[in-house]
């Protein structure tokens, strides 16, 4: 290297020895570039790149947030829907139970009423029958007595005797009827 340099130096300027004025110009050139490009322009592009990164990251963050919110809303709707479904099912069940209960009640009531009506009717019939029987008995007695009086020509004015005779006659009649029925 040294020999090559010295050979070259012999021919002209040694290329490894810098010219003073070139050193000065080199410093000046480098300084200008560092000031204009480095100090003035690079910070601008650095700021822009940082802003761009912020913007993109912010956009991604916003999209994420929106997605999360949408998911949350969907979940809320879903849970509301399932709640509503459960509520509806519960209400239906309740209504069915109530309906069944009401029907049962009505049936029971109707049965009671029917029974009551039947009992009333039976009582009334019984009563009427008794009345009719009594009336009939009195009338038949009187008629029979009158008939007998007429037939026998004997006045049976003693009432107690009359009644006894009629009763006896009727009982005989009834027993005859009952034996005939049997």
């Amino acid at each position: 290297m040294i020999t090559a340099a010295s050979v070259l130096a012999a021919e002209g300027n040694n290329p490894l020895i810098p010219h003073t004025y070139e050193l000065v110009v080199g410093v000046f050139s480098f300084l200008v570039v560092v000031l204009v490009v480095g100090k003035l322009l690079v910070p601008r592009i650095q700021q822009t790149l940082a802003e761009r990164t912020d913007l993109i990251e912010g956009g991604l963050k916003r999209a994420e947030d929106a997605q999360a919110e949408a998911k949350q809303t969907l979940d809320a709707y879903k849970s509301q829907l399932s709640e509503a479904r459960q509520e509806a099912a519960r209400l239906r069940e309740e209504a069915r139970e109530q309906g069944a209960q009401i029907i049962a009640q009505m049936k029971e009531q109707a049965q009671v009423e029917a029974r009551r009506i039947v009992e009333n009717a039976q009582a009334q019939i019984e009563q009427e029958r008794t009345q009719a029987l009594a009336a009939l008995r009195a009338e038949v007695g009187a008629m029979s007595v009158e008939l007998a009086g007429r037939v026998v020509g004997e006045s049976l004015e003693d009432e107690a005797r009359q009644r006894r005779i009629v009763d006896r006659f009727l009982e005989e009649l009834e027993s005859a009827n009952a034996s005939k029925a049997l």
Partner: protein, 265 residues
Amino acid sequence: MSAVTVLAASGGGVFTPPGAELFDFPPLFAGGPEWLTKPVALAILGALLTCAIAWSAFAKPKLVPRGMQNVGEIGYTFVRDQVARPFLGKDAERWMPLLLSMFVLIWVWNLFAVIPVIQFPVASHIAFPAVLALSVYFLKIYLGMRHQGPVKYFTNLIPKGLPKPIYVLLVPIEYLSTFVLAPFTHAVRLFANMFAGHLILAFFSLVGYWFLIENPTLLGAPVGVLGVVMTIAMTAFELFIQFLQAFLFTMLAAMYIGSGLHADH
């Protein structure tokens, strides 16, 4: 080289390959100041061009980039992701102004080597790489003394816990490489690449010019054609080397800055 000379001699004239005189320039115009030579003018032009490119890209940066801003951002993110972050980590943004300035300036200076009419790599004059390398060198030492302490910076350079005799060798080598060889190779790597590249391009284009136009012979014509083809091929190769050297220089700068900020060992 001798074959070329033989062929050239057979044609009559004498072919002389270009030498170091390629890099010597008179003042730009007669009667002008002695310092205003082509390399000096190109250095200034390169600096202004770098400013102009950066201005057109980053003067009014938009969130949605258009045109030159796209190009500028590719450059910015390339330097940031490939150079700054691997060596500086979280300090990358802090040093991007310096690293991007350095990278673009060197690349523009290098590109001058293949731009028609201009055709001269500024960095093939050692003064320009030297200025950049020395700036990084002093910055490295300043950062080291400031961030690691004025004494600790120098002791941190030596790894601890090795057998004692090793230090006899290690200490001088470590200091020599960090404080003498590192800035020297930093500057010379760029300088030598550009110097050699320019010499190669000049040589092949001169071969083409000499054997096809200046002194055309039937025997020499194929050599001339080869010269032209090689010029084209080497121009493409130089384009790659120019980018690579700008990248390497900036990468080493980032490494040295990183070594100042934090102890390696």
